[in-house]
């Protein structure tokens, strides 16, 4: 898969940034669970926070290939930072651009594009809320275990089911009745600023709804199609970095008088990693091209996610295996990639639903 010139230039720029800036504190931020405010600021100066926002609202409207390249490169060094960008650009800004009315767009997009506000997303799977409707306002109580970009305190998108209809709602910090609790209870992506969400009879006027009543399911499908590619790019970055680390280690580590890279059982693991990574990369950028050509990419994006979810689980598991006991210790990066991979392979994606969407689009 050959990238075009523009995407290549961006790839180099992001790769350099990731190596020179992000790598410095990726481990420390993971261990301490620190949201990388300064790094996000630098990325916003590079325009990355406006990736899915049209120029008329101050964004840079990157094509899909370019944005996925960005996620992949950042994910190689700090998957948490890639997740922050994914949530902001794909899970919040993108549906707002696509389904928002003028008022909603003007209210949020210019600030999202510059990174002054960071968009969030309430994971659909872990939603445990009750929704009522009163005088054209949604009344919401309950909680959600996972709010992406919660600590950034920006506006977030959530889905609410009422009378069998699903609505997409935007909530910002101006309303009362929403609490964001930092909990440190998630296996990975420790510095991505995930919080828990508690609703105490939140009253939300219907002005905050994206699209019409009952549009939620379609909006969610649309988001998932893009997000499946986004998460696959993160999976790809994690897998690639894990493999590179495993290879480097295997070349240095001497046992039985020679580098362990010489041993067939290690080589086989590397062969499996390389093969799966190459397949993911081809699927991913194929899907991205289809999307950039304005064709339906729902099926290929689901297939890419399905395959990349399995690939990243296997590659990160075996990267630790190549390191042996050392890989199990927090001193080496493969431990962090393994934990982050669990998050990127399940967020916004229930395995059986993913398979079902592939089947339904295939048969």
């Amino acid at each position: 898969m050959e990238l075009n010139k523009e995407a290549l230039l961006l790839q180099n720029e992001i790769r350099k940034f990731a190596k020179e800036v992000l790598s410095e504190k990726a481990d420390e931020f993971d261990k301490k669970g620190i949201f990388p405010v300064e790094n996000i600021k630098k990325l916003s100066e590079m325009g990355i926070l406006g990736s899915t926002i049209p120029e008329s609202f101050g964004g840079c409207a990157l094509d899909t290939v370019s944005f996925l390249v960005t996620l992949e490169e950042i994910s190689k060094v700090c998957p948490s930072t890639a997740l922050i960008l994914l949530a902001h650009n794909i899970l919040f800004s993108y549906p707002l651009v696509k389904f928002g009315n003028d008022g909603q767009k003007k209210k949020y997009l210019p600030f999202l594009a510059t990174g002054e506000s960071i968009g969030g997303f309430a994971e659909v799977i872990t939603n445990e809320i009750k929704v009522g409707l009163e005088n054209n306002s949604y009344i919401i109580s309950g909680r959600n275990h996972i709010l992406l970009n919660g600590v950034a305190n920006g506006p977030f998108l959530m889905f609410a089911e009422y009378n069998g209809k699903v609505d997409a709602l935007m909530v910002d910090s101006s309303v009362s009745g929403v609490l964001r609790n930092k909990k440190d209870n998630i296996i990975g992506m420790n510095c991505s600023g995930i919080t828990e969400l508690v609703f105490n009879n939140l009253r939300l006027s219907a002005d905050n709804r994206l699209g019409n009543e009952g549009d939620g399911r379609n909006i969610l499908e649309e988001i998932k199609t893009f997000a499946n590619l986004g998460f696959s790019a993160i999976n790809l970055g994690i897998a690639q970095a894990s493999m590179e680390n495993a290879i480097k280690y295997a070349k240095e580590r001497v046992q039985f008088g020679e580098p362990i890279i010489n041993f067939g059982m290690v080589r086989e693991m590397i062969a499996d990693m390389a093969t799966k990574i190459e397949v993911v990369r081809n699927l991913l950028y194929d899907g991205a091209n289809i999307r950039d050509n304005n064709k339906d990419c729902a099926r290929i994006s689901a297939i890419t996610r399905y395959f990349s979810n399995q690939a990243v689980a296997e590659v990160t598991t075996n990267a630790i295996q190549v390191y042996g006991g050392y890989g199990y210790m927090k001193d080496y990066p493969v431990e962090r990639y393994f934990r982050d991979a669990q998050v990127s392979r399940v967020l916004c994606c229930l395995g059986m639903e993913l398979k079902e969407s592939i089947v339904s689009k295939t048969i």
Partner: protein, 381 residues
């Protein structure tokens, strides 16, 4: 499945399950979070007689049956593989003493290990001697009535916690694997100290530490067996210990499977064929793993001469199943699976070590293949 366990084995299984659910389950999350050694739990297990199962009857134990160890390790591992590791290391450390130590040494240590008065550990791995066990750099030099030990042991489970360590050191470097000897080293012997405490992905409640020997003076009586036989003792000890490691993996898989089943029931997913398929596969693989462990354990307990292959089978397959089951558990539970309160993320983190410790699964595969080549009489090259 019906495994036709004896009445004693059934009673042991029930007893360990009860103890694990009563005293480990309520605190396993805290233990993992704080990476704190489960001292009171191990003490309670000792009080309940669970450390006796590693030790022969004549030294205060209940017979040192690998079957008993496998049953106990599974049941503890089902609740917490970290505690199971801290517990099972007692067997790994006492094994060499049981089989290779002198009568005097046995009398001195085993009854106290059985009662829980003394904890033991096994000091083998070094920075440059992981899979390549024979590459041990720690040396033991004879000086008068003492051996002087120098070197650093790495990733030692129960390091700094244990009172008694079986330590492998080279008494004759020129002889390589045949120059390795085993020593019983007690905490507090001059020149014996502890180094780095490891910060791990999983089994966080089990303490993993460096053992540091700087001109450590060990009385010559503490040499185990004969000089130069340490490597063979180690391999034989592994042959006996591996089903227990597999059983910890089996316990993790069983725990994750039960968590998935409960989750699917609560979310009304049991009618879904995607879920049914996963549950059926998990259950089948778990029973296959258990069958393999029991078969290996019974062979060893029956005194069959070469049990290297079944022991490796019983470590390799269950640990791979532990990994597969926990990865699948997270897939099925989706984002819920990522959350600490649902426990499978811990099981996943714990599962990974079972593919690594006590001989990586690559080492197991190599051993199995070599045994097969030897048995068949075919040539390797």
């Amino acid at each position: 499945m019906e495994y036709f366990l004896t009445d004693e084995e059934k009673a042991l299984k029930e007893r360990v399950r009860k103890i694990a659910e009563e005293i480990i389950l309520p605190v396993r999350d805290e233990l993992d979070k704080n990476a704190e050694f489960p001292r009171t739990i191990i003490e309670r297990m000792a009080k309940e007689g669970l450390l006796r199962i590693f030790i022969p009857k004549e030294y205060g134990g209940t017979g040192a049956k690998i079957m008993d160890m496998s049953i106990a390790c599974e049941e503890v591992g089902r609740v917490c593989a970290g505690v199971a590791t801290a517990y099972a290391v007692g067997a790994l450390g006492s094994g060499p003493i049981i089989y290779f130590a002198s009568e005097e040494q046995k009398k001195k240590y085993l009854p106290k290990i059985a009662s829980g008065e003394l904890y033991c550990a096994f000091g083998l791995t070094e920075a440059q001697a992981g899979s390549d066990v024979a590459n041990i750099q720690t040396t033991a030099r004879r000086e008068g009535d003492y051996y002087i030990l120098n070197g650093v042991k790495q990733f030692i489970s129960n390091g700094s916690i244990a009172d008694v360590y079986v330590v492998l050191a080279s008494t004759d470097k020129a002889r390589g694997a045949r120059g390795i000897s085993a020593f019983i080293v007690e905490k507090g012997m001059p020149g014996f100290d502890f180094g780095k405490h490891e910060n791990k992905l999983g089994i966080r409640t089990s303490t993993t530490t460096e053992l540091v020997f700087s001109d450590c003076k060990v009385p010559k009586e503490n040499l185990m067996g004969k000089e130069g036989l340490g490597f063979i003792y180690t391999m034989r000890n592994f042959d006996r210990a591996r089903p227990g490691v597999g059983a910890i993996g089996l316990g993790v898989a069983q725990g994750a499977y039960e968590a998935v089943l409960k989750f699917a029931a609560e979310k009304n997913l049991l009618g879904n064929q995607y879920i049914q398929r996963k549950i059926a596969d998990m259950a089948t693989e778990i029973e296959a793993a258990r069958s393999l462990i029991y078969a290996a354990a019974r062979s060893i307990d029956a005194g069959i001469k070469n049990t290297t292959k079944p022991a490796s089978f019983a470590k390799l397959f269950p640990s791979d199943i532990a990994m597969k089951t926990t990865l699948d558990a997270i897939e099925i539970m989706g984002s819920y699976g990522l959350l600490r309160e649902y426990n499978v993320e811990k099981m996943l983190r714990d599962a990974k070590i079972t593919q690594i410790y006590e001989g990586t699964n690559q080492i197991q595969r190599g051993q199995i293949a070599l045994e097969i080549i030897r048995e068949t009489g075919y040539k390797k090259e």
